[in-house]
Every structure is written in structure tokens, then in C-alpha cells.
């Protein structure tokens, strides 16, 4: 089914094709467009690890996801603001989404203490004391000049009893409200709320209602891909996504494998981010159309074939698997550089294929084809 909407002047989401629950669209922002379903490459500390900004652009990636926790500690929001914002700082004029920092405070910071109004913690870098509240969180992302600001939330740990998940979700909803109040709107910029509630459908339902009451420019599903497993994640999406407003983009945070992404697109998710392609690129794990390979494996030592014959990334068009194997064996920096480039290209190619299939009304058969390939690769190992 084709959905026609007018292209907004500043920020706006144009959902122009639906195929089942899957949606193809464009998110318009002050810093350019983001075609959806989209995979945002992770650029934690103002750089996509092992990549120049030009290299990231060359893969077709349109949006980078920065990390408020890392950036607030080093180099600091005031410094980034003084240097003209994150776009100029990291040579990424396109859209940038920053997370709220809440997730890293919980996973990285020392001596963190959460209260009703925010969280106090010590930097994992130098032990310095910091505080994050919804107002501070909005101010930080304003100073970064983030295209898409995420509301402060507490990412509920897994597993969590219903009581604990409820209390945590309620704090996140309170912070979502306070985030909205502190957010300073600018044309073409957006604020996203984050649905919490662990794997409990009733809590997810209440969380969505709370966020819709506040009103956001986009809705993220948080607290998933934290150990619950794919089946529980998809069940939670089944219970959550249909409740979200159709006219706003939907972002599944921190997800995931190609199969996770495909399954979430199938359920109506528009945006993703994950460290998988970049982290795998630094550890010799290659995502290819013939499966996931470890380039350190001795069987690649003399292999003259390109890593992924269909891929257009510079390493696939110019280097053999044997060369990439040599780079990782010899501990050369070019190994992670070329493999990160390839893995991001693989993810962007995956997303382009998914978008095209939705636009053509052929998403179901496209997804079935991808899954058949993945299954064949697994059994042939």
C-alpha cells in the first residue's frame, strides 16, 4: 500500500510505502534526509572507529549515532559547542543522533547512584563526578547540535522482576516528560521518547501511552537486546510497535544482527543502530553474502578471491581474502580499517535491499530469500 504525505519543510517523517507491517520512508531533518528502514553507524566518541567520515559516507550510511556519555566526559559538551558542534567537529554534515547517556552510565560508570531526578556517577576515565538529569541531558545534546536528541531513560536491566521493571519504567516516563519540557526545539531537529517496560506487555503498553501523552517526534523501543533473546525481543515488539503512532519514526535501539533487523522491519521498525558491524570489523569477523567468516581462519591464507564478490567496498574490489588474512595475522591497523569499511557496506547494502523490496511490495519474498540464504550458510558450516 502506498501512503502519500507532503514533504515537510523542516523535520518530518514521510512514510511512503507499507508492505505488511514493514514501512519505507524518509526522515527529513535540518541536516539532510535519512531513508528508512535505516541502519545508523555507531560513532561513539566523535568518530566511527577505524573509519574516516568520507569512508563512512561512501558506504551509503546517512546518519551516525553518537554517544552522550563518552562525549560529555571527553572532550565535553562546551568544547564541542565552542568548536561549532559535532557535525563540524567530526566532519559529518549529515544527521547525527545521540543517545541520552543513560545506558553507558549504567554499564560503564563507577559508583553510579540513581534517584528520582537523575543519576550521579563517576567517570570511568578519571573518576571525576558528574550528574545527568533530563534537563542536563537535553542541554548536552543541544550543545552537541544533535539532529535527533534522545530523552533520558533508565535502560532496565534484564532479567527484572515485574515490580522492578515497573518502577524503572516509571522513572523513565517521568524523565521523558522532564526531557520534553527542557528540550529546546529547533527547525529540523527532533526529540525521541524511549519505551521501556522490559518484556512485560502491560508495562510496554503503559509506557507507550505515557510517551504518546507527552508527544515526541519519534519513538524508540529501548531495553531490548540486553540478554532476553530474539524470541522475547520479537514478542515484545509484537506487543509494542502496533501501539506506536503511525506518523512517527520508530527506532529499535542497539539492534542488531541482520536477522534481528529483518525481523524488526517486518514488525514496523524504521531505524536501528548497533556496534556489531564496527566491532566485528576490529575482531576479524566479516559479514558477507556467503555468511559470517573469521578472517584469521587459516583457510583464507592463500585465498585469492575477494571477501564478498558482490560488494562494492574498496577492499572487496581491490584485495584478496588472503591479503585481509595477512593484515589481521600481522596485527596491521589496515585489517580493522578495511573490514570495518566492508561490514558497514554490508549493513548498508542490506538496508538498501530491504527498502527497495518494501517499495516494490516484495518485502515478504525478499525476507524469505535472505533467511533461506542465512539458513543454508549455517548448515553448510
Amino acid at each position: 500500500m502506498n501512503v502519500t504525505t507532503t514533504i515537510p519543510a523542516g523535520y518530518g517523517f514521510q512514510n511512503f510505502a507499507n508492505d505488511g507491517c514493514a514501512r519505507a520512508g524518509v526522515l527529513h531533518t535540518a541536516h539532510g534526509k535519512l531513508e528508512t528502514p535505516a541502519f545508523m553507524t555507531v560513532g561513539t566518541a566523535g568518530t566511527v572507529k577505524a573509519m574516516t567520515a568520507d569512508a563512512v559516507r561512501s558506504t551509503g550510511c546517512q546518519c551516525v549515532r553518537g554517544n552522550t556519555y563518552h562525549l560529555m566526559l571527553r572532550p565535553g559538551a562546551d568544547r564541542i559547542a565552542a568548536l561549532g558542534g559535532l557535525h563540524s567537529f567530526m566532519d559529518w554534515p549529515g544527521p547525527i543522533l545521540t543517545d541520552s547517556g543513560g545506558f553507558q552510565v549504567m554499564s560503564l560508570a563507577a559508583l553510579r547512584k540513581i534517584d528520582r531526578d537523575g543519576v550521579t556517577f563517576q567517570s570511568h576515565i578519571d573518576g571525576s563526578h558528574h550528574r545527568l538529569t533530563p534537563a542536563i541531558c537535553m542541554d548536552l545534546q543541544y550543545k552537541f547540535d544533535s539532529t535527533i536528541t534522545m530523552a533520558l531513560d533508565e535502560c532496565t536491566a534484564f532479567p527484572a522482576a515485574h515490580d522492578a521493571a515497573e518502577a524503572s519504567m516509571e522513572i523513565s516516563m517521568r524523565w521523558a516528560d522532564l526531557s520534553k519540557q527542557s528540550f529546546r526545539p529547533r527547525p529540523g531537529y527532533a526529540l525521541f521518547g524511549i519505551v521501556q517496560g522490559s518484556i512485560y506487555k502491560d508495562l510496554r503498553h503503559r509506557s507507550v501511552n505515557a510517551l504518546r501523552d507527552i508527544g515526541f517526534d519519534g519513538y524508540a523501543v529501548g531495553g531490548l537486546a540486553v540478554g532476553e533473546g530474539q524470541a522475547a525481543m520479537l514478542e515484545t515488539l509484537d506487543a509494542t510497535v502496533p501501539l506506536l503512532p503511525e506518523e512517527a519514526p520508530r527506532y529499535l535501539m542497539g539492534v542488531g544482527t541482520p536477522d534481528d533487523i529483518l525481523s524488526a522491519v517486518e514488525r514496523g521498525i524504521d531505524m536501528f543502530d548497533c556496534v556489531i558491524p564496527t566491532r566485528a570489523g576490529r575482531t576479524a569477523r566479516a559479514y558477507t553474502t556467503s555468511g559470517v567468516h573469521n578472517l584469521r581462519n587459516a583457510r583464507f591464507a592463500g585465498d585469492p578471491a575477494p571477501l564478498d564478490p558482490g560488494c562494492g567496498c574498496p577492499a572487496c574490489t581491490r584485495h584478496s581474502r588472503a591479503y585481509r588474512h595477512q593484515l589481521f595475522r600481522a596485527g596491521e591497523m589496515l585489517g580493522p580499517m578495511l573490514l570495518t569499511w566492508h561490514n558497514i557496506s554490508y549493513y548498508q547494502t542490506l538496508m538498501r535491499g530491504i527498502r527497495a523490496s518494501i517499495q516494490a511490495g516484495e518485502f515478504a519474498s525478499h525476507a524469505a530469500g535472505l533467511r533461506a540464504d542465512w539458513k543454508r550458510q549455517e548448515t553448510s558450516r
Copy 2:
């Protein structure tokens, strides 16, 4: 004075301008030209560390210097040959010079034992046993498909008594002769001999004569920049370079700082290689027209200026010093990547300036200008 020669069909050195002892020319090879005076970027193990081949090319670098010791151990000469040679392996269709491996055997390998016919050693990687003789050394470089093969030599340690330096030089001259006998000539390929003799002028003289008697396509001065200091190095060049044949290129191995290079060009050297720009790029040391800076220095933390305003490398045109500071502080791979790129660009720009000044007959004033800048930078620190 302009010197006119005909452009050779395969390999040949065309020395088309002299200015004092400084020479500007072109080395023609089977893999393209190398304009001299030239700085060859070091690509030890089949990669210029932290750089794609495209990035190296973009700096104007025309020749990469590979490392026989590293390549023979990993991935091995037969493997490189089976994969089509080093040019194809590392995506560098241009000229490649490989050293003989002798220097690294002495500095890196375990349990090395030198005899009249060669050297036996254990790999520093896995302890495996290897032997390097002139014949083996020529065969390895043939398999790499090196454009310029270096004769096997023993790099005399410094300091060395006259006796020891003489014995070492004589072994190198014997190996030079055997290298020439084993070298398999191909059109557009070259074999260079290496002058040894430590800082002793009589030994250097005898070494040059021995090499001229054998006859090589180019002459390298080895055994310098090993701790003797710049003054002793230049005195040795003064006593050596005038003895070398005018019609062949002259290569000063493992040199050096910009000032070393300028002083050696002044004495008639045509080719250089050194790890300085690439190694410095990984340790935050920036070579710039305003001096050598350590980017970790706190004074760069908020500096919005480009690292080197006149430089055309992508990081200088797009990023601030503050950004580069942040990358090194945060331990991001992009720090070494961008700074290596810049440092190689700096060296290539330096060489372009030197070449142009020789061609214009203005080398002396150009050199004086560079030295005045460097002196001012040192005193202003």
C-alpha cells in the same frame, strides 16, 4: 645546469637538472616513474601502517618500500608470488622497492649467525629457522615482484672499529657480487648495490669501487643513521657520493628527518626512505610547516585551527587540531590514521618543493629558507 638524456624504454634514470650537487630527475621503471629526489613511504609488511593504498597515493607518494624480512616470514614469498606479487597483493601498481632483509635479521631476529655465505636466524614471530644468502635474497625479491631489488648486505653496527668495519664491508661486497650473479634481470626492474664501510672514508671508497666493478642499476648508501649523528653522516656522504656514478640513482637508506633529507639532497642523494612520518603519525607527533608538535599536548584541546593551514591532506582541510587531540586522547584509531596521512603528505610536499627548486636552479635559497624556518621554530619553543 640542465642535463639532457633520452628517456629509456624500460628501467632508466633521467637526471634532467643539477643545482650544485643536488639533482632532479626521474627514475623510469616497469611500474611507472619515480620523480627524484624522492621519499619512499615505508610499507613494511605489505601495508603502509594505518593507510589505505588510495590514501598513500593521494599524498603524491610514488614508491613504497617493502621489507623482505617481514614478508618472507609472513605471508612468505611463495604465497605472495601465488597471489600475483606484492603490487597486486597490496593494491600498489606503482614502483616497489624491497630491502634485502639483512638489516632486520640483525635488529629483530633471534639467534642469528652470520657466515661467509649468508646468515641463519630464527623468526621473531614463531622461532622457526631461516637462512638468507645472496641467492635466496634475490629469489625472494623476484617472487615479491619488487621493482627495485636490494643486494644482500650486512648493515655494520655503530660504533665499529676499523678492523670490524672492514671485515663487515668485505662480506657485504662479496654478497653484492653474488647478488648480482643471482639476480634475474627483467625489463624495467633494477638491482641496487649498497655501499658500506661505517664512517671510514677509505672503506667507503673501497666499497664504492667494488660495487662499480660489479655494476648496479643504482647505488645505495647503507650503514648510516645508525647512531653516528648527523655530522658524521654528512661527512661520510661528502666522502662517498662524489665517487658514485653520475648516471645512476643514489639512495640513502633509512633517512631521515626533513633536515637530514635536505642536507643529503644537497650532497647529491636522489632517494630516501624512513619510518619517521609513519611512526610519528602513530605517536601523535605531527610534522608541520610550523614545526613538530605533539598532538596530545593540552594546548591543542580547544584549538579550532587546522593542524597545518597550507596542507591539502583531508584532515587538515576538514578537521581542527582540537579534533585530532581528542582522537589521540580517546585512543581512537582515526588519530593515527589521520596523522600518518598528514605526515606522509608533509614529506611528499617537502620533496615536491625540493624538486621544483632544483629544477628552477633555486635549491640553495630554498634550502636556506627551509632551514631558517626550522631554526625559528626551534628557538620559539
